[in-house]
Amino acid sequence: MTTNGWLQISFYLVALLALAKPLGGYMARVYEGQPIWLDRLLGSVERAIYRLCGIREQNEMGWKEYGMATLLFSAAGFLFLYALQRLQGYLPLNPAGFGAVPPELAFNTATSFVTNTNWQAYGGETTMSYLTQMLGLTVQNFVSAATGMAVLVALIRGLARKSAETIGNFWVDLVRTTLYILLPLSVIFSLVLVSQGMVQTFSDYQKVKLLQPVSYDQPVSDASGQPVLDEKGQPKTEKVTVTEQVLALGPAASQVAIKQLGTNGGGFFNVNSAHPFENPTPFSNFLELLAILLIPAALCYTFGKMVGDTRQGWAILAAMTIVLVVFVWGAYWAESAGNPLIAKMGVDQTLSNVQPGGNMEGKEVRFGLANSVLWASATTAASNGSVNSMHDSYTPLGGLVPLFLMQFGEVIFGGVGSGLYGMLVFAIIAVFVAGLMVGRTPEYLGKKIEAYEMKMASLLILIMPIIVLGLTAVASVTATGRASIFNPGPHGFSEILYAYSSMGNNNGSAFAGFGANTPFYNLTGGVAMLVARFWWIIPTLALAGSLARKKAVPAGLGTLPTHTPLFIVLLIGTVVLVGALTFIPALALGPIVEQIVMIQGVHP
């Protein structure tokens, strides 16, 4: 760890927290229907959409109707995206002539994008046509994010309203989110990113000359594509010399902006934001990082504003930030310590001003360690899932950080909207236990937390461990499941656990060596993503409906304040304890034991 590293991390956090208030306040105005200056520009577009869709702007919905609208919209998105993939061979804008995407993969991908996960089992440039990318994937980057934010706003209204039957209008929330929040921010971000060297073009891949031609051994295949073996039974190879480099290009900036802002994370290129065209400079890295947590952080302020007590929002944001900082520290420490197995070979892993040092496998020099671990932590704290370094190659403890952050249920910032509504559910649980400890029926923001709320909250915290632990168990004992493992030993177990933790929490990042594109993982993972997303949305809306109907209890001396450092500690404790108690045994058999083994040097 270096002073400069911490300076960069601190600068990032300061910038993030400084932007939370202005953006959060703006979003509160968007959701409360107050005038904003973009009205003049986009107001007519908004009204035209309502007219064409037959939406009555003023019609508020109860939670069931809101939930039905949410599900219908997501279902429509899913069907459209699935059909687009299956039919892309017959559709235009398919220069590479890709055929239909196989059904399980199409299912997995459609699920992945509709659930704001952006788990990519496919290789973008080798599977999807331009049309699929644009009309399917990019669109879902916007609307799946907007859906999450709409559900959050419904829950906030449930907390803010008193004795109310309705929690807003889903269509209005969806359209306003897209139009006034996601689109303008994406335009600004994408243009600044282009200025840093991010590509944004529809032209063909660019061929450039290699300064030094390179030759390599290529396996020889016969006509049927089977490798030809030599007399010793080894695959036969031939020498190939390459003199050109083909630069993959594309409209990356516009997609990267929304992939980060909407906590989507689906990369334009295979290695996501480690790719120089997808993340050219330290400044572009800073901006993308900022975009990961920007909306989740600002939504905390929006929440405080809408419930009429901004301290409540700051408290939640503080809890999230503290957990993030602790985990960044953990990852930074682990990666700085480097890999002792490599150190033994006379490799210098010291962090200094002339080299990034530490564990550099899978990391880029321009980012160094601080920016890599900060990204790894932020992308998994939020359910973003984009990467600027390869998590699979992290030291075991360094890799435990993103894994564990996902296993908290994606509530430390989390997905846009979904992270905060998840965190509010944890706040309700924290308040329940704490409320008991002060001798009062627990209440949060004046709303009494009773059996119904606990039922919904329990349903919510239950499901993630079930899918993550359950599917990991199935995969780790079946041959099909194990076949996808890339790294041997406990690390292989970590790969399976990481895959399901990522899909089961709608994150989308991966231990990328893992071969996820198999029917088994496409199907089980698709189900995991669907359950993780919609099992949360429905009870959350039910919670919103039930809370909205309640009277508000005015705060008194006997009321537990929920904006104090004590509550922040309590909230952190609840999230961490639930996550730790659920996943420590599994983690012990993956990264924890691997770290001990690595340090003890039991391995070669």
Partner: protein, 688 residues
Amino acid sequence: MAHAKKHRLFDPTIIRQAVIESFKKLNPVHQLRNPVMFVVYVGSLLTTLLFAQALVGHGEAPAGFILQIALWLWFTVLFANFAEAMAEGRGKAQADALRKSRRELTAKKLPQPKYGLNFTLVAGGLLKKGDVVLVQTGDTIPADGDVIEGVASVDESAITGESAPVIRESGDRSAVTGGTRVISDWLVVRITTDPGETFLDRMISLVEGAKRQKTPNEIALNILLAALTVIFLLATVTLLPYSLYSVAAVKLGAPVTVTVLVALLVCLIPTTIGGLLSAIGIAGMDRMVQANVIAMSGRAVEAAGDVDVLLLDKTGTITLGNRQATEFIPAQGVSFDRLGDAAQLASLSDETPEGRSIVVLAKERYQLRERHIHELGATFIPFSAQTRMSGVNLDGRQIRKGAAEAIEAFVKERGGQFPPDVRAAVETVAKQGGTPLVVAEGVNVLGVIYLKDIIKGGIKERFAELRRMGIKTVMITGDNPLTAAAVAAESGVDDFLAQATPEAKLALIRKLQAGGRLVAMTGDGTNDAPALAQADVAVAMNTGTQAAKEAGNLVDLDSNPTKLIEVVSIGKQLLMTRGALTTFSIANDVAKYFAIIPAAFVTTYPALAVLNIMGLATPESAVLSAVIFNALVILALVPLALRGIRYLPIGAASLLKRHLWIYGVGGIIVPFVGIKLIDLLLVALHLA
């Protein structure tokens, strides 16, 4: 029930019965009611089967080890049963005492609700609602009812534990309870309950916990505990495949045994709170009973902890029931003696406490000799609602005392004037919280008697305590606003409702509730019933009418209006005990992981021995120590569950901080120490 208080926390008879009950409760039907303990129960069965298998020779682990785990799991179940049985046992002891008073009775049934008619003897158990019975000296009242005729003194000690008899008559003191005995005179009583539903029946079933239903908060907590149990079940069950993978991956060691997994599961699930939860609930009701308050439902006990606003009747709660004369204020040109003399004369026949205090004041302060009205040949004019005055007619003198308006009317009728200085004095007295009584003789207004409300000792401190608890107090009084404000200021009450009518009370409660407040009140009269029914926590006085008792959800057998404060504390204790033990239970898991995880996988991954930070001797001793600790901690916390955590009025935040330190941080540390000690002991005893 006074004798119920005498039960020590660990009465040997109760313990003996509780031990027997613990085994009876092993019935699976009973276990199913508690999801957390049911998991332990199934685990015990499973390990017992594994032990049997090991005996036959196909054991997955040494039979001795499995046996010890199985035994301690059974102990865990038994300890939880014991806790519940202890709580129930204490209630039963009280119920038995009550039941003694419910011998089969013979009732004297009357054909008409009229005294003097011939009665027929019927069995008490056959009386229905609406029947009318006669109860005479020495008879036991056969069932709950309302007095419709007669006055009698009744011994209610069977219910209240209070030996002094109480007067029962029609009106506000009309309610009689089945099982109580008439000591003198007679009563005609209309029965108000059907057989098996009498107050006594309900009390017995309540204290026994037989019909105990889970309360809303308990249900909510149970849901959370069940969810945690499922999560831990999953975390444990999946360890088997994970272990299989690991063994295959490194080709070392053996997969984790089912015995160890069951042990881990039982250690992780919140058995501490799960095992003690029902005991805490029963004990909460029990504490109410010991405070001589009968909760008509567990819900009421819980709600008591949430009370934000207390409505208190001024008279009897904040002030002593009686006002006392403390000063004579003569009108201009009237001597003290003349006023004192007139006041005394007017009060000689007035047997009300106020009247007596005027005579006493005249005698003590103004050295006026007490005279006997009959010797003077005076005619006493009693107080009437129409005149709102009382007084005497003596030798042509018409002396009256009464409220200012009444006296003003009296003198004006006779052509007199109401002097302004007297009016001023009246206002001053009212402003100071006193009640002004004006004395007049004929057309002359003589002056004012200052009747003062006497604030009960220590009440101000109690209100301060309530304020620290976050509870607002509102005084209800029929006084005018000026007087009410003065009494409120002097007693330290937060707010008051003056000139209160039953409708005004009801309106106030509704207004407070609409603002989200939880309102508690006490009441006794029939006209209190609507307000009692509306209030969230309604404490009816046992001396009150049947209507009031029906409307209330708590009945205070002592009929002590300040009891509400205790009731609130008990409610809070109940919730706090649940919260604290939940926190403790979950916090314990940290140490248990450190004990069991390395032990379970050390054969596959020897490197995991690093996590054995407690330095436990062997994998077997580690698992066993954790299981034993888990069982013993239930037993160790039984007294706390029964007694409840003491409530300190220090504000929610401070209270939470305190409990987080004790039960959260403490809950993390204690098992490290406990498990290590048990491990040392096991090694010393060669048990592992």
